[in-house]
């Protein structure tokens, strides 16, 4: 009997793995605390694009604070999360109680389509306008888009403090940085696309940057971890628009960070509660927890809320450009806009062929 059960379990395991929907990368369970009566347990299914390992301390803190919560953490790719949420919204049922994505533009579109449940508390109301919209989507983190460089190989006088310095580097006659500067491939990275879109709103600099990338045969590649590791190895000397939190969590001694002083983009990972979510109350608890002092401290500790001293270079406050969690991001979701941006991008990078 027991053997049969074990067999069934063993058999079920690979089948379940096969049936993972496309885009679901990993799963984890937090809580409930042992000894909780079954009827008190509150299930909460969270779909997130953040790696489980990154967010684990935050989830554990939440589980400790709410022993009755049974959090099922699903790690999704951003496109997968968008697709499944959109499909479920159109079908009229919510498969998860909360969605937490770095692809803010995708969640903003879902909110615009009426797929979100509104919620308002003292903590959400305290958020700046740039980090909430309609009380249906909230930006929980504060992560800069930074320039990183290999501190061993780049002489201090070459370190670009802003985009203009970066442009100068790329235009240098000695062509020292040609092919040694990397950035996200925006056709493959949603985050890279979002940063590129935000940069494109600063029209003049963006044009010059693209021109510089083309001239210096910059490399567009995927993904954050690979870019950071390659900079650490010295394969690339420098990388543009890398998410600061990823750099910090890797703790690489040779990789130094610059918050561009002309302006630094800040991303706030967005949180929304899908319309009709059965565990909406639990999702609201999680939201309030993540916005609470304790939650924000945990997020700061794991690098998702940038500390002011994280940057090597000094930076004045006016240079902070949050990517506003609001309807302007709908423009980024427009097919023509995306096509045009991607075409422009490819025209810059395709000529010499992207490096593998």
């Amino acid at each position: 009997m027991i053997r049969a059960l074990l067999c069934a379990l063993l058999l079920a395991q690979p089948v379940a793995a096969q049936e993972l929907p496309p885009g679901l990368e990993d799963m984890a369970q937090f809580g409930p605390a042992p000894g909780q009566p079954a009827e008190a347990v509150q299930p909460l299914r969270l779909r997130s694009t953040t790696d489980i390992d990154v967010l684990r301390p935050a989830m554990q803190a939440f589980a400790a604070r709410h022993p009755e919560m049974s959090v099922t953490y699903e790690q999704w790719s951003s496109n997968g999360l968008y697709e499944v949420t959109r499909r479920e919204c159109a079908a009229g049922h919510a498969g998860a109680d909360a969605a937490f994505s770095s692809a803010v533009d995708q969640l903003v579109e879902l909110v615009d389509l009426g797929c979100a449940e509104p919620y308002r508390s003292a903590l959400t109301a305290a958020l700046p306008d740039s980090r909430r919209w309609r009380d249906e989507i909230w930006g929980l983190t504060r992560e800069p888009a930074v320039i990183i460089y290999n501190a061993r190989l780049v002489p201090p006088e070459d370190v670009p403090r802003d985009r203009f310095a970066l442009l100068d580097l790329m235009r240098r006659p000695d062509r020292r940085y040609d092919g040694r500067i990397a950035t996200y491939d925006i056709s493959r990275s949603g985050l890279g696309y979002l940063f590129a879109f935000a940069d494109s709103l600063e029209a003049s600099t963006f044009g010059a940057l693209l021109e510089g990338f083309g001239r210096s045969q910059a490399v567009a590649t995927c993904c954050s971890a690979e870019i950071i590791d390659a900079v650490a190895r010295g394969e690339y000397l420098m990388a543009y628009n890398v998410l600061g939190s990823y750099v910090e969590e890797r703790h690489l001694p040779d990789v130094a960070t610059v918050w561009p002083s002309d302006y630094t983009l800040f991303l706030s990972r967005a949180y929304m509660i899908p319309r009709g979510a059965r565990g909406a109350a639990a999702a609201q608890e999680l939201l309030d927890f993540l916005l609470s002092t304790e939650g924000q401290q945990v997020l700061t500790r794991i690098g998702l809320v940038a500390r002011e001293d994280a940057a090597e270079a000094g930076r004045h406050d006016s240079a902070e450009r949050p990517i506003r969690t609001g309807p302007v991001l709908l423009v980024a979701r427009d097919t023509h806009k995306a096509t045009a941006l991607l075409r422009r991008w490819r025209e810059t990078f395709v000529e010499r062929g992207a490096r593998p």
């Binding site: 615009d112 389509l113 009426g114 797929c115 319309r275 309807p327 423009v331 023509h336």
Partner: protein
């Protein structure tokens, strides 16, 4: 226990106080006005909100339309961020947009509604549901056309932009609320002001009431406390009333003192005669005394009649309504009652009246009384044939009594006709009184008493203003 001031008289049955009336009136005005204002403000707010946000919507749609380019025969939309920043001025509203090819296919954006009428009109504003994927919400849409006539592409591209109504509704409600707050403040101010105005307007009345309460009961002098114009009419009427009251009281006093004076002497004489008669042992003398007592008492009765008639006349001239009276009728009535037969039995009185009426505005009874007195006077004191008549003389109405005698001497003439004549009374006769009645009546109706001694005889005449009226 001392009283600080005179106690106010017990209140008469009072209706609601003016203050509460004013407050109620203002309140009801405010309630009605408030409802009207709220509706008007809300309607205005909706129109204003619609106008301003429609402009944003149109601006955004035009921006998008302007960002359409034709590249290789295919329309391309470089969706302008500015358009969405414009729409984001309504910070909490969902946005939807579409760009449609001349064939009606969505080139980019969402499948927004586009009513057939708008499509045919080539653009315009419309209201529709914004469905999205899940939550339908009322929204406002605008469609603008962009016409292309190029070598490789021609036709009209329609750009539709829609936005939900939260900001509009919030603005309309905000305008309404502001208007109502202002109205509320104005209302409270109005009520307070109204109450204060009534209070200050009523203050003179309270003072007036105090003055009146403190007044000596015999003090009928006019009230001269300054009062608002509205109350002055009332005070005028009150003063007039007091004036009449004073006149009445004065004439009552006169009557009483006259009566006392005039009765004292004859009554005293009667008493003396009666005492004499009682003590007289000689029947002959007692009888003669009795005859005198009878004569005296008859004379006293006459006096009393006169006094009563005078009191009546004084009362009536003050109070009775003036009517058109023909003096010929008065003369006729006096002759026909044959009262004079009692005073002077056997003497005839001739009546002289014409064919034309002699009209005056007066009181019939008072005139009759005055005429009787003139006639009685002539019969008692006059000589020869007595005639009575009414006629128009020099544009005035005249009722006259004439005898053949010379009339009283000048000194008597100067005296008689005054209010009363002690002399007359002391003699137990009432001539002075009769003439004074006649004079009072004449004066009450705006005329005079004319006493004209002459060789042809003495004439006493009531001369009154002629009335236009015909009976």
């Amino acid at each position: 226990m001392t009283e600080a001031g005179p106690a106010l008289p017990a209140p008469v049955a009072a209706t609601r106080s003016l203050k509460s009336r004013v407050v109620r009136a203002v309140l009801s005005l405010l309630v009605v006005g408030g409802i009207v204002m709220a509706l008007a403000a809300f309607a205005y707010g909706r129109v204003a909100a619609r106008a301003s946000y429609d402009r944003l919507l149109l601006g955004a749609a035009n921006e998008i339309a302007g960002a359409i380019t034709i590249s290789g025969g295919v329309p391309l939309v470089d969706l302008p961020t500015a358009a969405f920043q414009l729409l984001a001025l309504a910070p909490d509203d969902r946005i939807t947009y579409s760009v449609r090819s001349p064939g009606g296919q969505v080139i980019t954006g969402q499948d927004t509604p586009l009513p057939e009428t708008i499509r045919q009109a080539g653009g315009g504003f419309f209201d529709a549901e914004f469905t999205g994927l899940a939550a339908a919400e009322r929204a406002r849409f605008v469609t603008v056309p962009r016409r292309f006539a190029e070598r490789d592409f021609s036709g009209t591209i329609l750009v539709t932009v829609g936005q939900t109504l939260r900001a509009r509704n919030a603005m309309a409600l905000g305008l309404t609320r502001d208007a109502l707050i202002v109205l509320g403040f104005a209302g409270v101010l109005l009520i307070v002001l109204g109450a204060l105005v009534v209070e200050s307007a009523m203050r003179p009345l309270v003072g007036l009431a105090r003055d009146l309460a403190a007044r000596d009961p015999y003090d009928l002098t006019p009230i001269d406390t300054p009062v608002p114009a509205e109350v002055a009419g009332m005070i005028g009427a009150l003063n007039d009333f007091m004036r009449r009251l004073e006149r009445q009281i004065a004439s009552m006093r006169n009557l009483i003192s006259d009566s006392a004076h005039q009765l004292r002497t004859p009554v005293a004489a009667l008493r003396v005669q009666a005492e004499l008669a009682a003590e007289e042992t000689d029947p002959e003398i007692a009888r003669a005394t009795m005859v005198r007592i009878v004569r005296r008492s008859r004379s006293l009765g006459d006096l009393l009649d006169q006094m009563l008639s005078r009191a009546l006349v004084i009362h009536r001239t003050a109070e009775a309504r003036r009517v058109a009276v023909d003096l010929r009728d008065v003369a006729l009535a006096v002759i026909e009652t044959q009262d004079h037969a009692l005073i002077a039995p056997g003497r005839d009185v001739a009546l002289e009246i014409g064919a034309a009426p002699v009209m005056v505005l007066a009181d019939d009874l008072s005139l009759t009384e005055a005429a009787k007195n003139l006639l009685a006077n002539a019969l008692r004191h006059g000589a020869g044939a007595v005639r009575m008549g009414a006629e128009i003389e020099d544009g005035a109405a005249v009722l006259w009594v004439r005898d053949a005698g010379p009339g009283p001497d000048a000194a008597t003439l100067a005296r008689i006709g005054a209010r009363f004549e002690r002399n007359a009374a002391s003699r137990g006769r009432s001539a002075g009184l009769g003439l004074s009645i006649a004079r009072a009546v004449a004066e009450a109706f705006g005329g005079r008493l004319e006493l004209a001694p002459g060789p042809a005889g003495f004439r006493a005449a009531l001369i009154l203003p002629l009335s236009e009226e015909t009976p």
